[in-house]
Amino acid sequence: MKPFDYLRASAPDDATRADATIIAGGTNLLDLMKLQVMSPDRLVDITRLDLDHIEDHEGGLRIGALVTNSDLAADDRIRRDYPVLSRALLAGASGQLRNKATTGGNLLQRTRCPYFTDTAQPCNKREPGSGCAAIGGQTRLHAILGASEHCIATHPSDMAVAMQALGAEIEIQETTGATRRVSIREFYRLPGDTPHIETVLAPGELITAVILPAPPKGRQVYRKVRDRASYAFALVSVAAIVDVQDGRIAAATLAFGGLAHKPWHDPAVDRALEGAEPTPELFDAAADVLLADAVGQGSNDFKIVLARRTMKAVLAEATGLKEAA
């Protein structure tokens, strides 16, 4: 670990103007610092900021960036009105990690690509221009959608997949002190040729809250498929919010984890479902849309099949075509 300076923010401005890397729960950053995958010269600790409230807001909820994953998952309003989010949170990490991990930090966690976390390996995300060692290596956890020749990493968050389905907005304090809101659907970037730039956050900008819209109509489902029963990253995860009216799908929003560099949302998948009667054939057609451009890397080819099967099962559950497993 490289020596670093440590500051503690007592106001959001302290964080945005510190020219420092922001640390909150530290469940990801500290690990990466020990390995020198990240080696900031200066940390600014925001955990004393007053950002740990969940408040009613515009018919929905405003979740402070410092609300822990445990507290968020256990919140009565979240459990009642946004069960997809509660379930996604509880599907992630372990109890100990969820007690420390924060809402803002979870959105910004780095990929689990083992070539990213080994500083002896070339990685465009860690060291732009050095190459991608994952391509041609072990790719079980890697992307099948939206990858590039420069990076095939996946985003590891479960929480963000649910927020993607919910159409959450992210409240950002800019370095000028101004605040802007960005839809989570615009927040993450695909790797392209700059995989080291993962979001639209500019240097110094601070996530202050996540805003959930009014509770959506319909059923909410989160399902995560993984190699062991707990404490494993998703092979595939699906968040679905589906409203069935008079035997037809009135509204559907699906988001996917484990498939791409970001929590994946494809509006064409939602459109393929909306207005139609829920049938296995319809679900297959929607999966065709989702997976039209899917490309495996060899050891992750199975994800293409698994994504389809999981998506169909989730849709069957969410539309009431079949009861939950």
């Binding site: 670990m1 002896a120 072990q138 190699d227 707990s230 099949v305 698994l306 099967r309 009861e323 497993a325």
Partner: protein, 725 residues
């Protein structure tokens, strides 16, 4: 006084006569409270004044030579005290019982991850930063990262008895199937660590090792000093599973740096180092052939395998170890190929041989039962041989049939249906069975027992407790033999200055070290009998009193000076005259998700027969540990090697998937009453590794019973199930 015993013939079952009543009872381990309150100090927790801290720096090529490094740049970093490489540094840990230094490669690199240098600084943080800054230059050479394509493959003819080909041709039923198992890591909770300090020419190391009497010699040989100058302390070891059998790179690196600096130096491995620099279990590629008559009795058995290791390493995973003796069949053939690869050194990992060989054998037996439409428990019962199918020697105690029958009864095996028959929503439910067998042997072992005039006793031996319960069982044996309550007996372990024990490994620790304590206590009993002028057999020791000729005397009155007994056990003729093994039967019920291919184990039962059980609680825990390993072996554990350079890609516990709590269902352990007179003077056999032997196959066989998918490539991750659903 020393009581020496070579195990040439069965010994009287004295422990069934003693009557103190502490042996076999489920007593908690005495050091447990120290461990759960953090007061048991493990190697990396020991500190010394003026201690410096080192980290190991690895090779980042799979083969070649070190041509230089930026030492002067690193030496200029804050707190850095020194950088050492080459010379006496180790390439990998010593193999178990090597008793001599492992390869000291100088500037040669044989695998990606090999420890190349130790960087020592005032603090851990400084050392780690300096280690990261150390840039090593190489002259790479051609590497062989893949055992399937390796240029050098050695062949070891195992056995060719009768005519297997003919038996296969004429069999009423036959199975010829290929299986693969991936590499495994021991992944002990406690990473390898050593603190080295010199006083003149004498070296003291606080380390984490399983077999101290060998480790002393290995460390001395590595450093070129006499073994009498070396002392190792390892009172608590946070798991070993084979990875701490031999002296390892961190101890030698710490000793070198400490000598040069004239200060104590601690070197602890990071988790990633444990994966890369200690031992892995070799991946295996196996072919099992079974030939059976119409009655299901085997007429032929073939088991061929390919494993790998570094060039020159003598260890090869003994894949067919249990195949030799578990089932009959007069026509038998085994051949092993050893591919020479540039990968982390292969060595003993929990139940070497059986852990992976029995996956294939027991999977194949299930396939044979399926082909014949017979119950797989019944098929196994039909194939228990009368005498060893190769050597013809008799078996010592062998309760395999009881384990299969009693286990099946308690598990509810008769509820098992056909594949696809039981369903709960998306989940298909199935049951599977596998035999358990693990070769048993004892090792030379010594112990000293002192009975004090105040009625307390002290057990001393360099035996280790690697989480298994050595403190508990050695105290129980002494208490039982001397007629003392447990709180009067103290056990000191893990100091190489004490009498040399077997060490912990190969499941021989309890029976070997336990027998040496037994012999030492026998010596004390003889001395008490002499004092009371009675025959040894007429002496009863109970609750602190000696009873002879209907006269009861308190030991505190009888003894005026400490009585010291020394026990010395050696293996003898019974090791050859009888085929010895622990046996058992595993049963599992699994649920397979027909959508995702995920498998969840719902319940497991294992019945074990291991001779005398020394402590019901620690023995049960050993059973649990093996069963949990079995879940990992069957479903999740796999070392992933990069195809280009052989490096271990998933080198931490987030990505190398040992089972977590949610993967582990209710576990039921049955301990079958047994005495094995040929095994040891205390009629006990090993249990640790037996729990793992075969259990993974009970899970994959249950997967087949649930959904009709036969997984032959371990582990059974969702993608492999999906591909066949």
């Amino acid at each position: 006084m020393t009581r020496h015993l070579r195990m040439d013939e069965p010994q009287a079952r004295l422990l069934d006569e003693t009557g103190q009543g502490v042996l076999s009872t489920p007593l908690p381990r005495p050091e447990g409270p120290l461990k759960v309150t953090g007061r048991a100090r493990y190697a990396a927790e020991v500190t010394m004044p003026d201690m410096a801290v080192g980290v190991l720096v690895r090779a980042t090529i799979p083969a070649g030579r070190v041509t230089g490094m930026n030492t002067s740049e690193v030496m200029a970093m804050p707190g850095v005290l020194g950088v050492w490489h080459g010379g006496k540094m180790l390439r990998n840990p010593a193999q178990g019982t090597a008793n001599a230094a492992p390869v000291q490669p100088g500037d040669k690199v044989a695998y990606y991850g090999q420890p190349i240098a130790v960087v020592v600084a005032e603090t851990f943080e400084d050392a780690r930063a300096a280690g990261q800054a150390l840039k090593i230059a190489y002259a790479p050479s051609n590497a062989e990262p893949d055992p399937d394509t390796a240029a050098t493959v050695e062949t070891a003819e195992g056995l060719d008895q009768g005519d297997l080909e003919a038996a296969m041709d004429s069999a009423a039923y036959s199975i010829d199937a290929a299986y693969t198992t991936p590499g495994h890591s021991s992944a002990p909770m406690e990473p390898h660590a050593a603190l080295a300090a010199w006083e003149g020419d004498n070296l003291v190391v606080h380390g984490s090792y399983q077999m101290l009497k060998y480790n002393v010699n290995e460390l001395a040989d590595s450093l070129g000093i006499p073994p009498e100058n070396v002392r190792i302390h390892a009172p608590y070891v946070g798991g070993g599973f084979g990875s701490k059998l031999g002296i390892a790179p961190e101890a030698v690196a710490a000793s070198i740096a400490s000598k040069e600096l004239g200060r104590p130096v601690r070197v602890a491995m990071a988790r990633q180092d444990v994966f890369e620099m200690t031992m892995r279990r070799s991946e295996t590629r196996q072919r099992v052939r079974l030939a059976a008559g119409v009655d299901g009795v085997l007429t032929g058995l073939g088991h061929e395998d390919r494993v790998s290791n570094l060039p020159g390493e003598s260890f090869a995973e003994p894949t067919v170890q249990a195949t030799h003796f578990l089932y009959g069949g007069e026509n038998r053939r085994y051949v092993q190929e050893i591919a020479r690869v540039n990968r982390t050194c292969a060595g003993s990992v929990r139940a070497p041989g059986e852990a992976v060989g029995m996956l294939a054998l027991e999977n194949a037996m299930d396939e044979l039962a399926e082909a014949m439409h017979v119950d797989p428990v019944d098929l196994r019962l039909r194939n228990i041989p009368d005498t060893h199918p190769e050597s013809g020697v008799p078996y010592s105690a062998r309760s395999l049939a009881e384990c299969l029958r009693d286990g099946a009864e308690r598990f509810g095996w008769s509820e098992r249906g056909l594949p696809g028959e039981r369903r709960e929503g998306e989940w298909l439910i199935g049951m599977g069975v596998a035999s358990a067998a693990r070769a048993n042997f004892i090792m030379e072992s010594e112990a000293r027992v002192t009975l004090n005039p105040d009625g307390t006793a002290l057990v001393e031996t360099d035996m280790t407790d690697i989480g298994t319960g050595s403190y508990a069982i050695l105290g129980q044996i002494a208490a039982e033999m001397l007629g003392l309550p447990m709180d009067k007996v103290k056990v000191d372990l893990g100091d190489s200055a004490m009498p040399p024990a077997s060490g912990s490994g190969g499941s021989f620790g309890a029976a070997s070290a336990g027998s040496s304590v037994y012999l030492a206590a026998q010596e004390i009993r003889a001395e008490i009998a002499r004092k009371l002028d009675c025959a040894d057999d007429d002496l009863t020791l109970r609750d602190g009193n000696a009873v002879a000729d209907n006269r009861k005397t308190a030991l505190t009155e009888l003894i005026d000076a400490p009585m010291v007994g020394h026990g010395h056990l050696e293996p003898g003729k019974t090791a050859e005259s009888h085929s010895q093994a622990g046996y058992g039967a595993h049963f599992s019920e699994v649920a397979v998700n027909e959508v995702t291919g995920e498998v969840r184990v719902r319940r497991m039962l294992s019945a074990f027969a291991v001779g005398r059980v020394l402590n019901q609680r620690t023995a049960t825990s050993q059973g649990h540990g093996g069963m949990i390993w079995g879940i990992g072996t069957a479903l999740t554990e796999e070392l992933q090697h990069d195809p280009r350079d052989g490096r271990i890609v998933n080198r931490d516990l987030a990505e190398y998937h040992v089972p977590v709590n949610l993967d582990v269902p209710d576990l039921d352990v049955m301990l079958i009453e047994e005495r094995d007179d040929e095994s040891s003077p205390i009629q006990a056999k090993g249990i640790g590794e037996l729990g793992l032997s075969g259990v993974g196959a009970a899970i994959t066989n249950a997967i087949y019973n649930a959904c009709g998918v036969r997984v032959r490539d371990y582990p059974a991750t969702p993608d492999k199930i999906l591909a066949a659903l």
